[in-house]
């Protein structure tokens, strides 16, 4: 049972570290927003009377020192209260909660596409190293890394929504027919566009780690004892090659979440990314702060999931 304890300790360590990252993100955001010139303190910019200004300063607690306000904010945040949106006066937590499922659906689908398409592409490249298919896929990955997501989105709309007219270009669902098939059709283009933010990196990682694994002694042993090539690759090479790929995917999640802002803007997807854009345009400080913290928390949770997966596929984590 020592093994179980080791895993628990490893995961608890990761959990504590993740919590620290979220606190760090919230502190960075909160202090920046409240100390930088042009923050909420410049409610003076708002076109209001002196009394209204006083009321605003009182309401937002701007008359108290920033560290004190941060501690209060953090305490409230731990109870699910992220303050109120300046633009709509609704609780920030409610506004984020309304959008959260859409963003998770979009980012989750994009992640799934990256894994399901990216790993086989990388493995094929590794197995056919130096051949035409390897070069073609390398070039595709390089282009994928260079294409701006929003432009790819516009091009996808141009091809599939305008020219071919086979997929919808905006929104989560059609007002007329809100079926699962309709929702999936709406998801295809944004998910594919968002997936390109990390797919090429997944392919590259898989390729290089598979090539490395194929050079190992145990692969030569497996081949020389007469195992079928397919068994050697699937049972011996891939299992080891995928370990670094899993941790790379964990490290790519922040990039994927960052990509939701642009993707949701292009496809009119009502998620957290577009909410963040509205918050930035409307200078809604509580909202943009809350969003950043929630997104950081999502990224941290994703990396915890990766850590759990890690303990499953890499026995060394369990034993060491």
């Amino acid at each position: 049972m020592v093994v179980g304890q080791e895993v628990t300790r490893f995961l608890l360590q990761r959990l504590a570290l993740g919590a620290l990252v979220v606190v760090f993100a919230s502190a960075l955001t909160f202090f920046f927003v409240n100390l930088a010139p042009g923050g909420p303190a410049s409610v003076m910019r708002f076109d209001v009377t002196a009394e209204q200004r006083e009321a605003l300063i009182k309401a937002m607690g701007l008359d108290r020192p920033v560290p004190q306000r941060y501690v209060e904010w953090l305490g409230a945040a731990l109870h699910g209260d992220l303050g109120s949106s300046l633009l709509t006066n609704e609780p920030v937590a409610t506004r984020i909660g309304d959008r959260l499922p859409n963003t998770l659906t979009l980012a989750g689908s994009a992640l799934l596409i990256s894994i399901v398409a990216g790993i086989p592409m990388g493995v094929v490249q590794a197995l056919r190293r130096g051949r035409a298919i390897d070069h073609v896929l390398s070039l595709v990955s390089a282009v994928g890394l260079a294409v701006p997501v929003f432009w790819l989105g516009i091009v996808l709309i141009l091809v599939f929504a305008v020219s071919l007219n086979v997929l919808p270009s905006a929104g989560v669902t059609s007002a007329a027919s809100d079926t699962l098939a309709d929702r999936l059709a709406h998801l295809v283009l944004p998910a594919v566009a968002l997936a390109t933010t990390i797919l090429p990196t997944v392919v590259r990682f898989t390729r290089s780690s598979t090539i490395e694994a194929l050079h190992e002694d145990y692969i030569r042993t497996a081949t020389s004892k007469g195992l079928a090539p397919w068994t050697v690759v699937a049972r011996h090479a891939l299992r080891n090659a995928l370990i670094p790929v899993v941790s790379a995917i964990g490290a790519l999640v922040p990039r994927l979440l960052g990509g939701t802002v642009v993707t949701e803007a292009v496809f009119g997807w009502p998620g957290m990314g577009r909410l963040a854009l509205e918050a930035a345009q409307g200078r809604d400080y509580p909202l943009v702060t809350g969003l950043t913290v929630v997104v950081a928390a999502i990224a941290v949770c994703a990396s915890l999931v990766v850590d759990v997966a890690y303990t499953r596929i890499d026995p060394r984590v369990r034993l060491s």
Binding site: V33, A36, V143, L152, V262, R283, V288
Partner: protein, 267 residues
């Protein structure tokens, strides 16, 4: 260097030449509007057509290339500066300062930078200088890691220990003896950094939070183009193609330089 790397270098030099000389050779002002001839197709007067306000697309692309490339390079320099300072101090000092700075670097990498960028722009507003600083302030982490690794590696080298025992002060040791060892890695990081900065700038400008019209940048040219994607699809094609080509070239150049400068990776 690899063939791809050399081709990329040639492409980038050609684009730089166009950015410098283009606006002198193609003299239609990028801000000149002509609403009567908006959304026009290609013609002798406007080889790439006009946008919704009748502005010449070729002229806006040429002027936009200056803005896009300058912001990209400036943001990369900002990231390089912060990354070198953080990495060198952490690597040289060791102890709690090392732990603090490198955990900070890890934490910055663990949270989605694009949301932080939105936070900064919410507070500071839009502007070219803000854009450069914010992209730099949120993309220095890979540089810091590279410099940190090189500093750790070289601070125990004999020539550094010798210089130290002669009484050379730490800042001078870092600048004269250790950082020069990191130059090859930094050249690679810088090249890839420009690509990242250009992608970030164009995304922000597309969202209306970056370079503000009438000043053209490749990103903000795409901002309005999406509305006209049904009537004038070409408007959306050129700037995006330009961004893709430049970013691709910087990435290929970076990869080519890495292979050329680091023989261990050649296999």
């Amino acid at each position: 260097m690899s063939r791809f790397g050399i081709v990329a270098l040639v492409v980038l030099l050609a684009i730089a030449a166009l950015a410098i000389a283009g606006p002198f050779l193609w003299t239609i002002p990028p801000e000149a509007t002509d609403p009567a001839h908006g959304l026009a197709g290609a013609s002798a007067a406007h080889p790439l057509g006009t946008d919704e306000l009748g502005r010449d697309v070729l002229s806006r692309l040429l002027h936009g290339s200056r803005v896009t490339l300058l912001v990209g390079v400036a943001a990369m320099l900002a990231a390089l500066f912060i990354g070198v300072v953080v990495g060198a101090i952490a690597g040289w000092s060791g102890g709690w300062l090392d732990a603090l700075l490198m955990r900070l670097t890890d934490a910055m990498l663990a949270v989605p930078a694009f949301f932080f960028i939105l936070v900064v722009i919410t507070v500071l507003g839009t502007g070219v200088a803000t854009l450069v600083l914010v992209i730099g302030a949120l993309s220095w982490m890979p540089v810091a890691r590279v410099v940190y690794g090189e500093t750790l590696r070289w601070k125990v080298a004999e020539f550094v220990v010798a210089a130290e025992s002669l009484g050379v002060p730490a800042p001078r040791l870092l600048v004269r003896h250790i950082l020069p060892q990191a130059i090859p890695s930094l050249v690679v990081s810088a090249t890839l950094g420009v690509a990242f900065a250009i992608l970030t700038e164009s995304a922000l400008s597309y969202l209306g939070l970056g370079v503000q019209p009438p000043l053209p940048s490749w990103g903000n040219m795409l901002q309005r183009a999406q509305q006209y994607v049904f009537t004038a699809p070409a408007l959306a094609i050129y700037p995006g193609l330009a961004i893709t080509v430049v970013v691709l070239a910087f990435n290929f150049l970076g990869d080519g330089l890495r292979d050329a400068l680091d023989p261990r990776r050649r296999r």
